[in-house]
Amino acid sequence: MHNLELTARLYKTMLLIRQFELYLAEIYHTDAIKSPVHLSVGQESIAVGVCDALEKEDIVSNTYRCHATYIAKGGDLNEMMAELYGKRTGCAGGKAGSMHLVDIKRGILGASAVVGTTVPVAAGYAWAMKRDKEKTGHQRVVTAFFGDGCTEEGCFYETLNFSALHQLPIIFICENNRLAIHTPIEKRWASEQLCERVATFGIKTHRITDADVFKIHETVSNALQDIRQGNGPIFIECDTYRWLEHVGPRDDHNISYRSQEEFQRWKDQDQVTRLAHMLDESHRHQIQAEVKAAIIKASEFAENSPYPAAEELYTHVYAS
């Protein structure tokens, strides 16, 4: 049986992500959120399974669907909500929105809206962490999150090659939801052997097909141990399912590009529900209450924060 403390922690973070995003979906029609939102509902177990295994000083690199990883790595919830509201107290001063969440002091590199773009940047950061180890003696690790669509970009393969060549301290995490916007893998890939493809670069690979948060946590924990000893990059492919539309707050299963049966299969193995049942009722309720309070607090923080002043249009164009 899994350790209770870990179960409670994983449950709480997954629930926070789930409830935070469902809250966004609920209020989206009010236009309080002035940003497109790419929600991770259904995919939480990857971000949480990975990030929980990390040390505080480790780094995550994100895609535009970055809410889950931002929250899982401990990004400031108030600043996140304020960013979505376009307020000056947002993590990017209200100037970047949902697709570019960032919290450098908590090891969250800025996300990019252009698919694949952050993967080589993450490798560059990992290169720097390897250099830093010469001074500090401790190996910080970078985890690069991306979707199946990213693996179609040239820079992905360029980065695999460079990372393997330099034995970089990086874990590549592919969140494979089989969709690029609305286009399924069958229309995009000649072969589904992604791990095999990556392995040819001399990179160890793992595949987790059921989104089991404990399995992800354990795989990443082992990978981290390996990498901190200097054993190069590791690639993990995690199958998952996007419950909502590509961008926006709605369920779009009424449109016939994916099947209800598949959705139901993933709902049946939903990790948030699974872990909820592993906790006793009072513990579960306590966690649910804490999550709700955090979301309300973030929402109030965002509501009560000012918009940026006019002159802030021109701040940070160039660094001094």
């Binding site: 947002g90 993590c91 990017a92 001063g93 100037k95 970047a96 570019h100 960032v102 919290d103 450098i104 002091k105 590199l109 800025g110 990019s112 252009v114 773009t117 952050t118 993967v119 080589p120 940047v121 993450a122 490798a123 560059g124 950061y125 990992a126 290169w127 720097a128 962490m129 250099r131 830093d132 010469e134 040239g154 820079c155 360029e158 980065t159 090659n161 460079f162 060549l165 701040t315 940070h316 164009v317 160039y318 660094a319 001094s320």
Partner: protein, 365 residues
């Protein structure tokens, strides 16, 4: 917005030596890498026997394989790697042997390098130098000769410099390495062997300041990169017919020091811009527009304006056509003569130039 004009930097008092442009660059790398352990240099062929035409030779022996290293050809990802390292506190210098390959880096440069400081609200800085070389002659052709500086000038967040002599190459490189922003550092292959007096000690040529190379009273000629050499040849021709040309090298293309240019134009009343690039949407378009705007804002008369640059074609390899593709000392002089003397002046054909660095270049790189 513009740095106030401070005109030319006086001859340095320090010890100088007569060295080539490429040696001046190498000296900048060596001194900066000694000063700051966060500086590193990487790119295809930086550690081979050619050493980017001598500019990186023996740096790996001195600073180690972790600070000077070769890369796979992956220009796109390597630019991302440089950006990631810069975010983590390092100061990368990424090298491209020809500027044409920078088109493979546009996503990283435009979407990440230029925007990260702004988009992440100052949480990160990208102190990145991208070295890139414009090729010319001995059959460089359509894809080894492009000068794409205007593409980068267009993007807020990037700085663009194109020094045209050994002194400025060293000083600008040191300034670029110390700058906390991404700097596109544009070199020119035909400038590599040109010699100049360069202080032995470390110094910065500040980014954003133009240099008046020679003073004159009849016409202001602003020339970019290798065209500075052609403009200086033109000036000699013009002297022979009693025309005194003031030659200005903007050095930094963005941010652009228009004040120095406009002070000169106020004196001469004529502005000829000679770009080492195509004209459409180019650096010359920007300079000319700003010149007109600044005159209008200050209620001053619009000067006589003209510009020259590459022919609006792909660069051909065959010499007779390539010669027509580029402006040269004689065509620049003829244009300046026409602008100064008016359309009805006695026709004048400048004498032939002696052999130049263009004739001397025999490739292959």
């Amino acid at each position: 917005m513009f740095t106030p004009a401070k005109n030319a930097i006086a001859s340095p008092k320090q010890d100088t030596h007569l060295i080539r442009y490429c040696d001046a660059l190498r000296e900048a790398f060596e001194q900066e890498m000694e000063r700051d352990p966060q500086v590193f240099l990487f790119g295809l062929d930086v550690d081979d026997h050619v050493g980017i035409q001598g500019s990186t030779v023996k740096l790996q022996e001195k600073f180690g394989k972790h600070r000077v290293f070769n890369t796979p050809l992956s220009e796109d990802a390597m630019t991302g790697v440089a950006i990631g390292a810069a975010m983590a506190g390092y100061r990368p210098i990424h090298v491209h042997i020809r500027m044409d390959f920078m088109l493979l880096c546009m996503n990283q440069l435009v979407n990440m390098a230029a925007k990260s400081h702004y988009m992440y609200n100052g949480q990160v800085q990208i102190p990145l130098v991208v070295r890139t070389m414009i090729g010319r002659s001995w059959g460089q052709g359509g894809q080894h000769s492009q000068a794409l500086h205007s593409l980068f000038m267009h993007i807020p967040g990037l700085k663009v410099v194109a020094p045209a002599n050994a002194h400025d190459a060293k000083g600008c490189m040191i300034a670029a390495i110390r700058d906390n922003n991404p700097v596109v550092f544009i070199e020119h292959r035909l400038l590599y062997s040109t010699e100049g007096y360069v202080p032995k000690a470390s110094y910065e040529v500040p980014l954003g300041q133009a240099r008046i190379l020679t003073e004159g009273s009849d016409i202001t000629i602003v020339a970019i990169s290798h065209m500075v050499m052609e403009a200086l040849r033109a000036r000699k021709h013009l002297e022979g017919v009693g025309i005194s040309a003031e030659i200005i090298d903007p050095i930094t293309l963005w941010p652009l020091d228009m004040n120095t240019i406009m002070q000169s134009v106020q004196k001469t009343g004529r502005l000829l811009i000679v770009d080492n690039a195509w004209l459409t949407c180019g650096a010359s378009s920007e300079m000319m527009t700003r010149a007109v705007e600044m005159c209008q804002e200050e209620g001053k008369p619009i000067p006589r304006l003209a510009r020259m640059g590459f022919a609006p074609t792909t660069c051909p390899t065959t010499k007779p056509l390539e010669n027509l593709f580029y402006p040269n000392g004689r065509t620049i002089a003829a244009k300046a003569y026409e602008m100064t003397k008016g359309p009805h002046a006695k026709p004048w054909e400048p004498p032939l130039d002696a052999k130049t660095e263009i004739d001397a270049f025999k490739g292959p790189f």
